[in-house]
Subunit: 409 residues, 2 copies
Amino acid sequence: MIKITKENIIPYLKAHMPDFDDSLPVQISMVGEGTEEEDGDGYVNYIYRVQTPKESLVLKQGTEISRVSQQEIATYRNRLEYNSMRIFYAITPEYVPYLKFQDRENNIFVMEDVSDLKVVRFQLNKNKMFPELGRQCGEFMAKTEFCTSEYYLSREQYRGLQKHFENTELRKIMEDQMFLDCFGCDIDYSLGKNFADFADQFSKDSRYRTELYKLRRKFMSHADGLIHADLHTSNIMASRDKMKVIDMEFAFMGPFGYDLGYLVGNLISQYCAACFKRFPSEQSRKQFKAYLLATIQSLIETYMKTFTLCWEKSVKERYRGQQGLLQSILQEVMEDVPGYASMVNWFRSVSEIPYPDFDIIEDKDAKRNATVLSLMIDWGIMFGRYKYQSADDLIETIIGIEEEFRKSL
Amino acid sequence: MIKITKENIIPYLKAHMPDFDDSLPVQISMVGEGTEEEDGDGYVNYIYRVQTPKESLVLKQGTEISRVSQQEIATYRNRLEYNSMRIFYAITPEYVPYLKFQDRENNIFVMEDVSDLKVVRFQLNKNKMFPELGRQCGEFMAKTEFCTSEYYLSREQYRGLQKHFENTELRKIMEDQMFLDCFGCDIDYSLGKNFADFADQFSKDSRYRTELYKLRRKFMSHADGLIHADLHTSNIMASRDKMKVIDMEFAFMGPFGYDLGYLVGNLISQYCAACFKRFPSEQSRKQFKAYLLATIQSLIETYMKTFTLCWEKSVKERYRGQQGLLQSILQEVMEDVPGYASMVNWFRSVSEIPYPDFDIIEDKDAKRNATVLSLMIDWGIMFGRYKYQSADDLIETIIGIEEEFRKSL
């Protein structure tokens, strides 16, 4: 197996891409060498950016050893990522980087560089707004989930995807860490003992734990459609009008609405941060908070509308006219989304893994307040979700809990 | 490929089973030549019974053409059946015939003959009671489902079973026929136009249809454990104290409680028949009806208790102490069981496929009453199920609807 380095990447590209032109100056950089803001927070793979005056490419190689942690990790992830990108690109080319070629033998693929766009997380951290983000992400999720489900594909294709994206090794990371590691063992004590006790008490409450286990059961066993499964704001690149989803190696056939809930969770974190971090003015804080809630709303509503449109236009004959089934699917999504949002926020709030959304808050009290508010919202929406009929109900809970919390300060 | 016949079966067995002894008289019969009561109602495979004074064997061959319908059908079913029997035997040897050998090349396996036991359906049709049936079947289902789930197996084993038992071709028969073919197209008109109109009207009601589609979604997409998937009373052989499950070619990784609901459905059909068929005395009718309800109760309660015991004794460390998750799983089973029962009864009541449970009722009015009562119970439990906490609630609905129906006669 060839291991790509800055030294051999140009001959490698020339050998595999006949039209690659290195007659003009070529710039090579490795993701991870730049700032997190430029590169996102990918720690696992070897990713090179190759820029010529004509084009800009990204080469991604999955090695047997994870780049930063130096732990063993299955190399098939590179092949699965390539294949999930191909599928997602076929459905929504506007939201997925274009793939140039794949080298299965060496666990490499090359794709269009989308670094003209910015990593959404770090822009949100700087109060930058992407007005189309909710609509774009909602469309991406609904279209890709619908078109990889049995409501669109033949049974054989649908079950073929399940087998192909079995992906046990990478899913395990989410199934254990994301859903369960928030229990007790690694609360971030840097916010002080009071906060730690508060978070610890919540973490150990068996009612919350049961909800997490119920959601995890669905995540592990219910195969609706191909989901990204790690669609946080660092895996979304955007500009004012464009959006691209990256980093698809966790993809598998999972429950409708998982990605939606996961991203809503990130937006709620941002909202909690926006309640307490510093802004140039209270007016700009208000505007940014309103933007975040509007994005949550547009994300959920676009998902629901787009899924419904796909269904009406393209559902298999067996399901035509079965509006009751469609409603039941979307009602379940509406129940599950706040659950997944709560799960991911809870995990990111209490675990020791750095969480830039809160870590950028320099004032310790402000950071604690943002984190506590997040935990309170996580708690509220986890149990409130069974009554939610729409995004409005979720947003009402968020605003209500924020108001209550402010009174207690 | 060798095609087994009465002529070549003895040389075949001698070649494959070194200890097969044909020095004494050997009796060979083919299943399907005897009465349905002796043989059950298997129409798909070629099944031979070989009896010597020393032992009695059954040879099952899956050919490319279904025995009775002469339609093409996947031969891999024979291999899957052998493998599901092996797994079920490993978990509950007391409830599964012993396997002698497999010949993958020719889609054949040989197993212990269990024809010392009787096909349960035809015995129930004659008001024969099997006092242990509910307990035995509940134990079989709970143990096999638990031990093939991710609560017991490693993720790799669990996902391996999903892939191995993909079984798309046979599942398709259930997914389409059982869940959906009751809609309008083939109502049994032999009970008269009034009945047909009544059944037709119910069949076309979009609320009932939505419930069927919701259950079908779970059946198609939710992989909890290895289920039999066709566990009706003709696939259960029993005596007063023994019980064996046969015919496992539909097995796949499906939702907990599916087999339970399916069998409860058959017992409800028997109950409806018992309300109207002829008995030697009203006392014996009363006794048999009470037996059927007690069997439904014992079946469900044994399932719940056994599943709980398995969980407490053998659940993986990740899940220890997670009583909330266990309760949520069993609560979902309690909701789904009446749904699956309703589905299978509805299908068997309105479709043109012969249904011995009702067909043995000679009096046309009595048969219509039994069938109408069944449809009314199907309707009642389909919508009542969301409130059921236990088997008692289900049985209360059944008795209540019977009383209402009697008043209307």
